[in-house]
């Protein structure tokens, strides 16, 4: 499939020129096309922030909800119609700040969805405040003496919680990122891809050059099934490994646990209550 099927015509993309999000969008379209997943097969679910605007810049089903809650939306969409390919997109503020509790419990619930986090380590849409992943010491418009809070380590959290798939990518590498997204989408279960993304307007520390200098791809010597090794990689804070860092043992997904799909794969919108069963239930109160 050609990636252009995901193009929306005549739109004004609201991201800043040079934003890393353009490249992630390119990687996303490329990966879906290469997996032969059409716009009609896919729901892009997003929250609020620059990353959350993604579904308005490509053609596919979409649900652009509230700040921090798109994992809840995405989980419910998937379990209501498991045939849909659900990709949940948000930024570091959306997923690791506002939506922290939803992230933690979505990992536990393990729906078969892909979670792309455009992690630029800064708040873009609200103009330059610290995000949960901003480095300690970085001065911002709000943290004028520098960030004091320990940054969130999403990779370590996800591995600690035994997430079924954990990867990290860098927006600057379109092809490599597309390959990682393909693996995440193909993976059965919750798949987190934290994508380093330069913010050209507000983050003057973590630039394209900085990410290039401070990241490296894991090779075949790393076994993603080795949780301890993955955790060691997750804790590295001098240079950051990219690629598929962790895969849990095969786990049943939220949808697979749900008894209603055991014998019947129809989505919820095609189902109707059975009046005979209901009458019998009512009758049990005689």
């Amino acid at each position: 499939m050609d990636a252009s099927v995901f193009d929306l015509k005549d739109i004004d993309i609201q991201w800043c020129p040079g934003c890393g999000d353009f490249k992630i969008l390119q990687s996303l379209k490329k990966s879906l096309a290469e997996l032969d997943l059409a716009p009609e097969d896919t729901v892009i679910v997003s929250g609020i922030g620059q990353a959350g605007k993604t579904p308005h810049f490509m053609r596919s089903h979409f649900f652009n909800g509230l700040h921090g809650r798109s994992l809840s939306n995405g989980t419910a969409i998937k379990v209501s119609n498991p045939a849909l390919n659900v990709v949940v997109i948000g930024g570091d503020g959306d997923m690791y700040g506002e939506g922290g509790n939803q992230l933690l419990h979505t990992i536990r619930r393990n729906p078969d969805i892909t979670n792309l986090v455009f992690n630029n380590m800064i708040y873009g849409l609200t103009k330059g405040q610290a995000s949960p992943t901003t480095s300690q010491g970085m001065k911002t418009t709000l943290q004028v003496e520098g960030v004091i809070n320990e940054p969130v380590n999403p990779i370590a959290i996800a591995i600690a919680q035994n997430a079924s798939f954990v990867a990290r990518a860098f927006a600057g590498d379109v092809d490599e990122t597309a390959e990682i997204i393909k693996k995440a989408v193909s993976h059965k279960g919750y798949a987190l891809v934290d994508i380093f993304q330069p913010c050209v307007s507000f983050n003057k520390v973590n630039t394209y050059q900085w990410f290039s200098d401070n990241t490296w791809y894991v090779d075949e010597s790393h076994d993603p099934r080795d949780r301890e090794a993955a955790f060691r990689l997750a804790l590295k804070n001098d240079s950051f490994p990219l690629g598929v860092l962790y895969r849990s043992e095969d786990k049943k997904t939220f949808e697979e646990w749900s008894p209603l799909y055991e014998k019947d794969d129809r989505p919820l919108f095609q189902r109707r209550p059975d009046p005979d069963k209901l009458a019998a239930l009512v009758g049990s109160y005689r």
């Binding site: 716009p39 009609e40 097969d41 729901v43 679910v45 609020i48 605007k53 579904p55 308005h56 053609r59 596919s60 089903h61 979409f62 649900f63 652009n64 909800g65 509230l66 809650r69 809840s72 939306n73 995405g74 989980t75 419910a76 969409i77 379990v79 209501s80 119609n81 045939a83 849909l84 509790n101 939803q102 933690l104 419990h105 619930r109 749900s258 008894p259 209603l260 019947d264 989505p267 919820l268 919108f269 095609q270 189902r271 109707r272 209550p273 059975d274 009046p275 069963k277 209901l278 009458a279 239930l281 009512v282 009758g283 109160y285 005689r286």
Partner: protein, 580 residues
């Protein structure tokens, strides 16, 4: 909707009080079933403390030859299973009350009461039968003994009720029950002296259940197939019920991490075509405000069961109140249409919940069903629900290739499709959006979209749930009320027996009934009865109709009104005393 009885029945009112963990809840369910099977109308209502063990809870059981649906203060027989009778029960003990319990306890606690005391150590009798856990069965036995219930009915019932717990449990329960039964026979004549308790023959085609189960079954009947919620008293019962029937009825039922996730799951599921709901109480619903607003702008159907308990904040977790009307009316930022329903009876709980799903789907709006702890934890017998009455309506359409989710239409209702149904793209957005659902900052579009959403209000008013009106059309006094108070007020009015006073009970609070002003204008006096401290319905009526209701009967202590209280307080308001 079935109306509450208009005959004052000479029923028997038994109150059982004891500590949490003594199995009172179990025995009540058993009593209701067995008494109904013996031809009695039954009512039971629980009030309980927010604790797992200990404390002191009470259950009122009314047994009647005619239908009984309301809470009364009168206690004919008080069964005391453990020490520590609380003030709310204590003050209802009258010289006519027969109190049964361990005599040392009764003499100590009731030293200033001239009620008649009967010595019966439930715990000792239970231990003789095999363990103190059977104290509740002894208590049930006393009630069965008073009414001389046929033993074979009880044996059959015990067998089916406790079957899963094994033969020994059934046997020991039966033994304990028989010990109580013989004591019940001894006091029967005295207790029943002024009662008219001939078993009724009109119980065919009835069922007995509490409000929580009725609302839950209403959801099943309405085609609910998705619920995500966080446990919170008194709303949890609905989640538990749907979860326990998930396999049988094709439901996704998930205990979710918080209420914010709950409503966002419900909206997400609905976007994908599920009939979704959440069940919660005030504090949880407060967390859902933003999600409710999301459903509003996305025009995504969602049903909220809002089970009220006293606030603010944690308030009184296991108690009752009607103080979240304002919250339900105004929660969610921005402007969007909504529907608010409040069932008046258990039967109404079933049919209105079913209707809630159909209204939500039809108008693509959030529908809130307001109940409360009293309603959910109260049992009585009702006509068996007709599951085929008012067939469900489904509105989801296939998306053509040019499909636009927010097509502007005359009614404001856009044909709704879901992703994966047809060739079209289905987009939904929390921002103001164009017909495709894409975010736009176009001021003219904004006005059109606001108008489109608000136009649905007009359609909604074409299908309002009518209020219940009782009494003469030519009235001097009009009692206005809403929600769970209906049967209590009805019985209070029967006690008052004032032909000049009629009663209008609202079952839909938003939008309000369009005929409401006609009723209000006809009355010399309007008296609003509400379970809150500020008269929230009065404020709503004034806001919507301009009519200022000056007389209010309010209750915010955490317990339901009693029928006697309604009679007495109405009597002083309408200047005609009740017969109490």
């Amino acid at each position: 909707m079935e109306k509450a009885g208009t005959v004052i029945s000479k029923d028997l009112s038994v109150v059982v009080c004891g500590a949490a963990g003594q199995g009172i809840k179990t025995v009540v369910e058993f009593l209701v079933k067995a008494l109904k099977a013996s031809g009695y109308h039954v009512y039971a209502s629980r009030e309980y403390m927010s604790r797992v063990r200990g404390g002191n809870n009470s259950t009122e059981i009314r047994i009647g030859a005619q239908k009984v649906m309301a809470f009364v203060d009168r206690i004919d027989v008080l069964i005391v299973l453990s020490p520590g009778i609380r003030a709310n029960v204590m003050k209802r003990i009258s010289p006519e009350t027969l109190v049964i319990g361990e005599i040392e306890v009764l003499e100590k606690e009731l030293s200033d009461k001239d009620a008649e005391l009967v010595d019966l150590s439930f715990v000792k009798e239970a231990k003789d039968a095999g363990g103190k856990v059977y104290a509740n069965a002894v208590a049930a036995g006393v009630i069965f003994g008073i009414l001389d219930i046929e033993k074979n009915i009880l044996e059959e019932m015990f067998d089916s009720f406790f079957f899963s717990k094994g033969k020994e449990t059934v046997q020991k329960n039966l033994e304990a029950m028989e010990k109580g039964f013989s004591r019940g026979r001894e006091i029967a004549q005295k207790v029943l002296a002024d009662k008219d308790l001939e078993p009724s023959s009109d119980l065919k085609g009835t069922i007995a259940l509490d409000g929580s189960d009725a609302v839950s079954m209403g959801a099943l009947a309405g085609g609910c197939n998705f619920i995500a919620s966080y446990p919170m008293s008194p709303a949890t019962g609905v989640l538990t019920y749907l979860a326990s029937h998930a396999r049988e009825f094709d439901i996704v039922a998930e205990q979710i991490e918080d209420e914010i996730a709950a409503i966002n799951c419900a909206v997400g599921a609905s976007y994908a075509g599920a009939r979704s709901m959440v069940t919660t109480s005030g504090g949880g619903f407060a967390l859902m405000s933003e999600g409710l607003s999301l459903a509003g702008v996305m025009e995504t159907p969602v049903v909220v069961h809002l089970a009220q308990r006293p606030g603010p904040a944690t308030g009184m977790a296991t108690r009752t109140e009607q103080a979240d009307l304002n919250l339900a009316l105004y929660s969610g930022h921005g402007e969007f249409p909504r529907i608010l329903l409040a069932p008046a009876t258990i039967e109404d709980g079933f049919y209105l919940m079913k209707k809630a799903f159909n209204l939500a789907d039809k108008f693509q709006v959030p529908v809130i069903l307001l109940t409360d702890q009293y309603f959910l934890n109260t049992f009585y017998d009702v006509h068996e629900f007709d599951v085929r009455k008012d067939e469900n309506e489904y509105f989801i359409v296939e998306a053509g290739s040019e499909y636009r989710r927010y097509e502007d239409t005359e009614s404001g209702i856009s044909p709704r499709s879901v992703p994966g149904y047809g060739k079209g793209i289905v987009g939904s957005d929390s921002h103001e959006h164009d017909a495709w659902g894409h975010a736009q900052e176009d001021f003219e579009l904004r006005e059109r979209m606001v108008q489109k959403r608000l136009r649905k209000q007009k359609e909604i008013t074409k299908e309002l749930v009518t209020p219940v009106f009782d009494g003469k059309e030519a009235f001097k006094n009009l009692v206005l009320s809403w929600g769970s108070t209906y049967p209590v007020i009805r019985e209070g009015l029967d006690l008052l027996n004032d032909p000049d006073t009629s009663h209008l009970h609202l079952r839909q609070l938003c939008p309000l009934d369009e005929d409401l002003p006609k009723y209000l204008e006809k009355a010399e006096n309007v008296i609003c009865i509400e379970g809150n401290a500020t008269g929230q319905l009065c404020s709503l009526v004034r806001q919507k109709t301009g009519y200022n209701i000056k007389k209010r009967i309010l209750n915010y202590r955490g317990l339901q009104f009693s029928a006697e209280e309604i009679c007495e307080r109405l009597g002083s308001v309408t200047e005609k005393g009740g017969d109490k």
